[in-house]
């Protein structure tokens, strides 16, 4: 049963990601990406990580993708502008994307190989709960957490500065 649900979510995620890449319509691409986020949240739930799943939908599907949609609507992109069509001809971008994908795959396979595929791991009763995630975040991973918040603060200030100079 769990395997079946995994294949449904995984399959739909891969399919939606593929459709997102090939679709000419920007809104359709955004909707497909939301579907990918949903499937990922479903996979997180299968891994007992309810908190991460809820945050995944809240932040990615609920907030970030809405902004994508908002921008697409604001600029009224219809998918037939020459600049939109020319994105495939950008060799540098394609090459960088390819390198990124290769790097990700190498990392993925090496991690999988090192962990050994068929060994299950024991997880605690409260694994994935809000309390436990919070505790780990504020003890073991405090430094990355603080670095991430400083990064976000810098981004916010940068955005405000950019917006300010435009309006004046």
């Amino acid at each position: 049963m769990e395997l079946l649900i995994f294949f449904i979510f995984g399959g739909v995620a891969v399919l939606a990601a593929f459709l997102m890449i090939i679709s000419w319509n920007p809104v359709a691409a955004v909707l497909n990406m939301i579907l990918v986020m949903f499937c990922l949240a479903g996979l997180f739930v299968l891994l007992n990580a309810h908190f991460i799943a809820a945050i995944q939908i809240l932040v990615y599907a609920g907030a970030i993708m809405v902004l994508f949609m908002f921008i697409i609507m604001l600029l009224n992109l219809r998918g037939n502008e020459p600049i939109w069509k020319s994105r495939d001809k950008n060799v540098l971008l394609s090459f960088l994307g390819f390198l990124l994908a290769v790097g990700a795959f190498i990392k993925l396979f090496s991690t999988l190989k090192a962990s050994g595929l068929n060994q299950g791991t024991q997880i605690g009763e409260d694994f994935g709960t809000t309390a436990l995630v919070g505790k780990i975040l504020f003890t073991d991973y405090l430094l990355p957490f603080e670095i991430a918040s400083i990064l976000l603060l810098v981004a916010i200030i940068g955005a405000v500065m950019l917006a300010k100079t435009k309006i004046d």
Partner: protein, 357 residues
């Protein structure tokens, strides 16, 4: 098998109550409420064999009208998304009810029954996550209609909903700081004594949450996304028939959800002031345990829904009292007043909790 039946019963109860009672009845309540406040008679013409029942047949007449109307899709519209968006609007409104408890925990026939469909550990975050998806319904509706007014409406709607989502999230941080849990059943259970109700512990949080929730639902005074007098009907301008009805249904279901959340978080959920569950059970001690628990359960369910109905009425009254805000006023209220206030609320709550410890 037994668990499956119990869960199915709960789902059917919530679904039936929302779709069968609240959604149709609230169209009538809204009209009657507006008529009452504007010194009119309101809906009273629909009748069956001469009985008009103070207009209670109007929802049925509405339903027949919507079903019989032509389902119009404008030229140049994206057909799939045009059809999809009313559904995306309705589903989140219904789905949030999965984690809202409508009663406590009861022992019936030796079995512990919790009156909530899914008792998630991340309850409140689940509600935020699901309700943030409602934005897509309005955004896609406006975009796929291929109409400038619709696009304007959905642009306004998406900007407003994104802005108020942030503030709404922060207003509730105070609540789960006070109760120490995100689980709505635990928050509800923690409000057993009257002076532990959320409204006393988080008074500012209540008012800010209600403002944000109404803004999120895009009802007056925050209804610039519809703005009949400016952009005709905004994002659902190009809809007719049942799809048009579904937008209204989503709005009314959201009213019920907001009322249920306000009740659960700030007004003692299923508890009666000064009368604890133990007191009721001791009064019913002449009955056997199962029967006493069933009576207690029924009392709690009705208390919960009475509170919900009160807040539905409250929202209707607000709707017909205040005029529409201007767009820049809405943005100013969201970003410059509610957001800093909610952050200050978190700070003060944290300091008070620290002192009391």
């Amino acid at each position: 098998m037994e668990d499956f039946l119990i869960t199915t019963a709960k789902v059917l109860f919530i679904f039936g109550l929302n779709m069968g009672v609240f959604a149709p009845l609230l169209t009538w309540v809204e009209r009657k409420q507006s008529a009452l406040m504007q010194d009119r008679i309101g809906a009273n013409r629909a009748d069956i064999l001469g009985f008009s029942m103070i207009g209670l047949f109007h929802p049925i007449a509405d339903a027949i009208k919507m079903l019989a109307k032509e389902d119009f899709i404008p030229e140049g519209a994206n057909k799939i998304m045009h059809t999809l968006s009313p559904i995306i609007c309705v589903v989140p409104a219904l789905l949030t009810f999965a984690v809202i408890p409508f009663g406590g925990e009861y022992v019936i026939g030796g079995k512990h029954i919790k009156l909530v469909i899914a008792d998630l550990d991340v309850g409140l975050i689940f509600i935020f996550a699901i309700s943030s998806l409602a934005t897509y319904g309005t955004v896609i509706a406006g975009w796929s209609s291929n109409n400038n007014w619709s696009l304007l409406g959905s642009l306004r709607a998406s900007a407003q909903m994104i802005s108020y989502e942030v503030a709404m999230g922060f207003t509730l941080v105070g609540v789960f700081m006070v109760y120490g849990s995100l689980q709505l059943t635990q928050i509800g259970a923690a409000q057993e004594s009257f002076f532990r109700w959320g409204i006393f512990l988080q008074p500012l949080g209540f008012f800010m949450f209600l403002a944000c929730a109404i803004a999120e639902n895009k009802r007056a005074p925050f209804d610039v996304a519809e703005g009949e007098s400016e952009i005709i009907a905004g994002y659902f301008l190009e809809y007719s028939g049942l799809k048009f009805g579904m937008f209204y249904m989503a709005e009314f279901l959201e009213i019920v959800t907001i009322s249920a959340m306000v009740t659960t978080l700030f007004f003692g959920a299923w508890h009666i002031p000064f009368i604890s569950s133990a007191l009721i059970l001791s009064m019913l001690s002449f009955l056997n345990e199962t029967l006493a628990n069933i009576i207690l359960m029924l009392i709690h369910i009705s208390v919960f829904w009475v509170k919900v109905i009160f807040f539905i009425w409250f929202q209707m009254t607000i709707r017909w009292t205040l005029p529409r805000f201007r767009y820049d006023q809405i943005m100013k209220l969201g970003w410059k007043i509610l957001l800093p206030l909610s952050l200050a609320n978190i700070l003060v709550t944290g300091i008070v909790i620290l002192i009391l410890q």
